[in-house]
Every structure is written in structure tokens, then in C-alpha cells.
Symmetry: C2
Subunit: 243 residues, 2 copies
DNA sequence: CGTCGGGTTGATAACTTTCAAATTTCGTGG
DNA sequence: CCACGAAATTTGAAAGTTATCAACCCGACG
């Protein structure tokens, strides 16, 4: 009910209803603020600094590089998302994290997290839900690259992003601001930037969706959902059973 | 040190050294034995039966189906692996699990798991490690489908399987028994069975590896590693930091 | 004003699928 | 134990999708 809720609280709040106490626990988690400029690496493959972050504003991407120089973007993170949870748990990171835009994050130490769980199990529940949702998205990403055609894949991606952004009030059914370049999109979709460009043009010509000038516009939501075979159920679990 | 250790204990034991007590805790987890015939569905998308399993013998696969009928296999599980951990935590499963061969599993309830964690934090640590390793494999799978050529991808897959099987003594550097069909391989790799067949032939002709008659034979391990750009570090974390 | 990264388009090449069909292997019932 | 049918493997040829190469345009920025 607060006018100024953090995206993190908005996101978890969409899943578990949070008391005032719980909200302040979450805000407390986000007290160590930091900024990174676009392109300034946050986490590097093999790095062992054991910090995680909550993203407050801006977008980041996590990716892996192959020896040949190719890059596969594993996921994008948007405000409210948790970054580097695994790097907190393990000796060294197995992927890179880099801001897409300039970003604002809050550093989270392992101890902060444990303390938050202790004070409010529901925050832990929410995080567990978020982690599981991330894994479901990863699986869906795999399915898309493995078995969807390029056009369906991109369409599906645009819809997924929209659904995610809606949770933090950064999207409407009409569209959303999207700072990604076609190159990043390509590295995420397992395509070439050139081909992504063509696919986007086709989607535009089909009057389904437009992605231009940093703005995604959905022209025909139902049509796009049907075309992409988008089933959003993997995005909104009804909640974990363990508390 | 036991001659007859369960694959599950062997696998976790490769990561955390386990006391006799801990070993028996793990064996206790595996007391509710069950068998499934090949092809007999274990878990169905949307299903809400809240049980997980530890796989003792045989192979299973988890996959998703698209509306067009296409199938993407997300992962194969081999003896010692945990099945359906997420379906234990959440209301309903978002993927299917099906035995590849006839299998023997042990049913695990949420309460069993919590009890095991309570009795032996190290078992919990081990499971956390296993879950994280699974996620790392998922990411690597995504990278492979997105950015590796078909031949490199299949080669990489054969090496990964070998490394996983070695942990439970089902593989040597020379090769291993593999009950997968070229069709399954195709659905896992995001390729056509026909193309998988050609790729396997090429790998054989290159004297790198052979997969025939349910048997994978590695002819030139180093050559295969080099060709596939296989870096096994994502498979052997040195261990979680939280206990 | 010139450079540079991103976007756009066309032509060509490479890779993968699709379609068709023959062959082999495997599981099951007789 | 054999025979049979179904499933899996194998190969060829043609079609389709996506990548690669080459240019050009444009706006941001020093």
C-alpha cells in the first residue's frame, strides 16, 4: 500500500502478502546501495567475491563466453530480481554478470540473508519462490532455443519480458521500455543480430509487435500469445508449500 | 568404504566426506523403494502429487512438450540423481519425468527430507551442492544449444554424461553403457534424429567417439575434449560455503 | 565534422530439416 | 527358441532456415 515500494518488495509481494514488518525487513536488506555504469562488469566467471545483489533499477544480463568468442546470454535481470545467488553459495562464479544500462543495486551478504530469513520466514518463502521461478524461466529458455523457430522464440521472449516487468509495474499490455540491443537479443536467443533484425521486422509487418527505439509495443496481444504458443503458467506458481 | 554403497551416497560422497551416521541417514531416505517400467510416466506436467524420488538404478529424462508436438528434453537423470525436487516444493510440476529404462527409485516426502537435514546438515549441504550442479548443467545445456554447432554439442554432451557417470562408477575414460535412443538424444540436443545420426557417424569417422549398440566408446579423450571445448569445471564445484 | 556503435538490407553460403525408403535391432507372443 | 511386427538406425536428395559477408544509413558524441 506504500506509494514508494521497492521493486523487490513489489515482486515478492505479488506472491506472498507481506506485513509492514516484513516490508521493512526487505528494505533493510537493501540498505547497502551501489551503482554500476553500463558495461561495467559486476561479476566475472571464476571470480570468488562472495556477494549477491538485489537490483533496484536498470537491467543486467548474465552470460557465458565460449572459447571461440561466442556469447550466450543466459538471462536478463530486471528491477526486483536477485543477482548472483549462486555465487553467494559457491566458491566461484560460473558465469558473468554485466549491466545493460547503468544500474542501482544493493549488496547483500550471506549473513544479511540468513538474518532476514530468521526474522521473517515469509521473506525466505518469497525468495525460494523467486529462485524457482528463475529456474522455470531457464527451462523455458532452453525449450525455446531447442525447439521453437526463430520468430516464435523472439515473440515468446517479448511476452515473457512483458509479464516479468508487469510484476514491478514496468509494463502494460500495450508495451514497455526495453534497453536491449538487437545484438544482446541475438546472444540470448541463439541467433545472429542480423537474423533478429529480420525477425523483428516480420513481427512488425505481421502487426503483432514492434521493438524499436528502445520500446516494445504489443499490437495484438492475443495474436502474439497464440503465435508464440505462450503459456504463462510457468511464471506464476501459486506458491511453495514449505514455509 | 562400504562395498555396497548406493549411487546417491557415492555421488554426495564425492563432494562431502560422510560419516557412518550420515551414510545411514542417507540410506534411510531411500527406504521406500519403487519400480517403474520404461516409458511409464513418473511425473506429469500439471500434476500435483507432492513426492520426489532418488534414482537408484536406470535412467530417466525430464522434458517439456510444445503444443505442436515437439519435445525438448531438459535433462537426463542417472543413478544417484534426485528427481522432482521442485515438484516437492511447488503446487504443480511444470515438466514431465519419464523413465528411459526400467528404473528403481525411492520415494522421498518433504518431511523425510527435512528430518534428514535436521539429523545431518552435511546431507543438506550435499543436496544443495547437487542442486546447484544441476543448475550449472542446465546453463551449460542452454549454452550448447544456443551457441555450439551440432557436432560440438553432441561431443560435449557425451563428455558430460561420462563425467557424471564416473561419479557413480558407471563410466571409465574408455566409455560407458548408454541406453538413450538417437531420438532422445535429438530431443535433448535440439536437433533431428536424422541429423544426430549423421553427427554420430562423423564423430565415429573422426575417430573421436562411437555411440552404437547402447555403448559409448571414447576413442580419443583429449581430442574429444578439445573438439567439444569441454571445460569440466562447471561439474565439480569445490563446495558450498554455507553449512 | 568525423567516427563509431547500432540498425537495416541484399546476396550467397552453410547448416539442418524434411521427406522417402531400406535395413537392422529388439521385444513379445507363439 | 523362433517369427513377427514395431521401433530404431541409416542413407540419399531436396527444401528451408539461419549464418556470413558486404554495404549503407543513422544518430550520438567527442
Amino acid at each position: 500500500m506504500l506509494a514508494e515500494q521497492s521493486p523487490f518488495a513489489m515482486k515478492l509481494g505479488a506472491f506472498v502478502s507481506l506485513s509492514g514488518d516484513e516490508l521493512s525487513t526487505m528494505e533493510l536488506l537493501q540498505s547497502r546501495r551501489k551503482k554500476f555504469a553500463a558495461g561495467r562488469e559486476i561479476l566475472h566467471q571464476g571470480q570468488s567475491k562472495k556477494t549477491a545483489y538485489i537490483l533496484s533499477s536498470g537491467w543486467v544480463c548474465s552470460y557465458k563466453l565460449l572459447s571461440g568468442g561466442a556469447r550466450q546470454i543466459v538471462d536478463f535481470q530486471i528491477p526486483g530480481d536477485f543477482l548472483g545467488l549462486r555465487s553467494l553459495l559457491f566458491r566461484s562464479a560460473d558465469h558473468n554478470i554485466e549491466p545493460v544500462t547503468s544500474v542501482e543495486v544493493s549488496e547483500v551478504q550471506a549473513t544479511d540473508l540468513l538474518e532476514a530469513f530468521r526474522k521473517s520466514p515469509r521473506v525466505g518463502t518469497g525468495l525460494l519462490w523467486a529462485a524457482s521461478r528463475d529456474e522455470a524461466m531457464l527451462v523455458e529458455h532452453l525449450v525455446g532455443i531447442g525447439r521453437r523457430g526463430a520468430k516464435e522464440r523472439v515473440a515468446h521472449f517479448l511476452l515473457e519480458l512483458g509479464a516479468r516487468l508487469k510484476l514491478v509495474q514496468l509494463s502494460t499490455p500495450l508495451g514497455y521500455a526495453c534497453p536491449l540491443t538487437q545484438n544482446m537479443l541475438a546472444d540470448a536467443m541463439g541467433l545472429t543480430a542480423i537474423h533478429v533484425n529480420r525477425v523483428l521486422r516480420e513481427l512488425r509487418e505481421d502487426r503483432l509487435a514492434t521493438f524499436q527505439h528502445g520500446m516494445v509495443t504489443i499490437h495484438d496481444f492475443d495474436g502474439l500469445v497464440a503465435f508464440a504458443d505462450f503459456d504463462k503458467s510457468y511464471l506464476d506458481h501459486e506458491g511453495p508449500l514449505l514455509k
